[in-house]
């Protein structure tokens, strides 16, 4: 089983005729994702690769195909509108890959999506994959394999590195989710941890964090209070220099500098096994799933 996406996922691709959109559309179709439509305003009525229908709006695509998930590959200045459009069209899961979305845009998008009852993943994320069933985003399919570990991460290539090591060690995954590293994103660690806890096939969870913010600390508190399944963690950025901070507001608002040491401490306090190196995630997980 899995979280968020599976065989029932019917995907519409926003920005399907762009450079990134068309490349990854082919990859997702090849992987076996049920891609039902593309959207590019002004190109409605055309076909992608001769077969997949393209619509002018997400609403048209949803009405014609019953799409329940959308993935967004539009340029940063248009990404906010694409997310709003998908939420308005009734899409239940919106995955925004686009990097560089202004944070003030995300401040408006977040409450709107929430009101519409949709789940947003991203922006600035690699998306998610349920091995053998569905891939939404850009995570390379061949490095994943089905199995008992749920994985959630703030990063892209570091996720690939760890998934690859897991797969090479014979440890498969239920679902791998990249939530993205932007200051305001739709889905956080806790959302994914709660979903993995509820998923009967997930036996253990790997959580990859990094410096900045307090998401990892809050996730650690959640693990301690609500999770029965074992969780293993890694924090990137232990050697990162302290930010060239301007003003005082950043330190005041969170009461935290968001350092790796703080986050590792929070993990340890919550009983989360902390990997010192990315490869140590494999060994820590093996103990829990054998």
């Amino acid at each position: 089983m899995s979280i968020f996406i599976d065989k029932s996922t019917k995907l519409v691709i926003q920005g399907i005729t762009g450079r990134d959109g068309s490349f990854h559309a082919k990859q997702m179709i090849e992987y076996g994702t049920s891609v039902v439509a593309g959207v590019t305003p002004g190109k409605g009525g055309q076909k992608f690769e001769g077969t997949l229908p393209i619509y002018d709006t997400v609403a048209q695509a949803v009405q014609a195909t019953g799409a329940n998930t959308s993935v967004i590959y539009v340029p940063p200045m248009y990404a906010a509108d694409a997310m709003l459009e998908a939420a308005d069209a009734g899409v239940a899961l919106i995955v925004c890959i686009t990097e560089g979305v202004p944070v003030l845009d995300m401040m408006r998008v977040y409450p709107y999506v929430k009101e519409k009852g949709a789940r947003l993943i991203g922006p600035n994320c690699p998306g998610l994959i349920t091995p053998g069933m569905s891939k939404v985003g850009i995570i390379p399919g061949r490095i994943c394999t089905a199995g008992p570990v749920g994985l959630v991460s703030r990063s892209g290539t570091l996720t690939y590195e760890i998934v690859n090591q897991l797969t090479n060690a014979g440890i498969g995954q239920t679902t791998c989710v990249g939530i993205g590293g932007d200051p305001i994103n739709g889905t956080n660690f806790i959302d994914c941890l709660a979903a993995f806890e509820a998923d009967p096939h997930t036996k253990a969870v790997a959580m990859m964090g990094e410096i900045g913010g307090t998401d990892e600390q809050e996730a650690a508190a959640f693990v301690k209070a609500h999770m029965k399944k074992p969780v293993v963690g890694f924090i990137a950025g232990q050697t990162a220099p302290p930010g060239r901070r301007m003003g005082h507001a950043g330190a005041i608002i969170s009461g935290s500098a968001g350092t790796a040491a703080e986050k590792i401490q929070a993990f340890e306090d919550a009983g989360i096994g902390v990997a010192k190196r990315p490869k140590d995630v494999v060994g820590l997980l093996r103990k829990h799933i054998s």
Binding site: R244, I253, R277
Partner: protein, 381 residues
């Protein structure tokens, strides 16, 4: 993107916030002329992208033009947290009755812009926040409605007992919010917000950090960037669309993706080395990016070994291999290089590299250990 105090003040002034006059000087003579123009005592303030200027000696009072010249000559050229002061702001010294703090920042936790105000402003505001948190009022703003009149007044009344001053502060906070959103800022701050003996509320300092993602649609704000206030290697990296931060070690790192780049630096340290930099070549790399990355890394004389760590997803490892070959043909390397790559088009990449005399590794830990060994002359484990 950071902007200077004098630039932030100009933005605040345009939004209607009362700010005393001031102008910038690049030489002691210019500072002297400005002091003469303003008359009386002036403040000379270093314009650098860091806090703690006052404590570092970068803010001084000058009683007359001669003293202004003398102090400007001391502040110009001084180094504050690795940044050389090239510009000073000269402004008439204000008479201060009280000092308050007002700031607005994007808050990750509430996913909103949050105001923070305190009647106990000044240079020790962080200590105030820590020791007496009840002296700070926080107010999240709903982006759909903006800062409402009554909310602004609530904060004004938290700052000042005097109703007239509270109203003046409320007006300033609304103007600050307008400047914050119109400039695509992630932080805007007034510290101190002062009252004068005559009872007026005035902003004496201004800080603003702009969200880099806004710069494409705000060309006027983008034009405020002062490249002379940034490290030359970082300017070069930005122009090549690379993210680069210089550090103190000797293992030069070239990685794709920020998370993997940080994990690579951590691993360098784990195996007894010190990373010379953070460098992220980003997602869709082309050979040109790799050429630029190598130029930046090799221009740092402290780099004793270069480490490539590439996990090809969107990034094609053959692009990276071609970049390495091109760059090293143009400028033969003077230090050893360790290349680890895996993922998309790995076989082609390995072939390109071996045909040109390079060895490619596939394991991240082994590659990092080897790079550390080479950088330290074989001393580290």
């Amino acid at each position: 993107m950071n902007i200077h105090e004098y630039q932030a003040k100009e933005i605040f002034r345009k939004a209607g916030i009362p700010i005393p006059p001031g102008d910038v000087a690049h030489t002691p003579a210019e500072a002297e002329a400005l002091a003469r123009k303003f008359g009386g005592t002036v403040v000379i303030k270093a314009q650098v992208h860091t806090g703690g200027r006052g404590k570092a000696g970068g803010v001084k009072l000058a009683k007359n033009p001669a003293e202004a010249k003398e102090l400007a000559s001391r502040i110009l050229g001084m180094t504050i947290k690795d940044l050389v002061v090239q510009t000073v702001l000269v402004t008439p010294a204000a008479e201060i009755a009280t000092e308050a703090y007002a700031g607005i920042i994007v808050d990750r936790a509430s996913k909103r812009a949050v105001f923070m105000v305190s009647p106990a402003g000044g240079i020790d505001i962080e200590e105030v926040a820590e020791k007496t948190p009840d002296k700070i009022m926080r107010l999240p703003v709903d982006p759909r409605y903006g800062l409402l009149e009554f909310q602004a007044l609530q904060m004004g009344l938290f700052l000042y007992k005097d109703a007239k001053q509270a109203r003046a502060a409320a007006k300033i906070l609304k103007q600050l919010y307008a400047a914050f959103t119109a400039s695509g800022a992630s932080l805007a701050e007034i510290n101190p917000l002062v009252t004068t003996p005559a009872g007026e509320v005035v902003a004496l300092d201004a800080k603003m950090v702009v969200d880099d993602n806004e710069l494409d649609r705000l060309p006027e704000i983008a034009g405020l960037r002062d490249e002379s206030a940034e490290a030359p290697s970082e300017v070069m990296a930005r122009k090549a669309n690379l993210t680069f931060i210089k550090l103190d070690g000797n293992v030069g790192c070239v990685v794709n993706g920020a998370g993997l780049a940080m994990a690579t630096m951590d691993l360098v340290k784990y195996y007894g080395g010190e990373p010379a930099n953070f460098l992220d070549i980003g997602g869709s790399s082309n050979p040109e990016k790799v050429v630029n990355a190598l130029k930046i890394i090799t221009s740092d004389p402290s780099v004793k070994a270069i480490l490539f760590n590439i996990f090809g997803g969107i990034t094609r490892t053959d692009d990276v291999a071609n970049g390495i070959v091109t760059a090293t043909k143009q400028n033969p390397l003077k230090v050893p290089i360790v290349i680890r790559l895996t993922g998309t088009n790995e076989e082609i990449a390995v072939k390109i590299l071996s045909e040109n005399g390079f060895t490619a590794m596939t394991d991240m830990d082994e590659a990092v250990q080897k790079a550390v060994q080479l950088a330290t002359g074989g001393k580290a484990a």
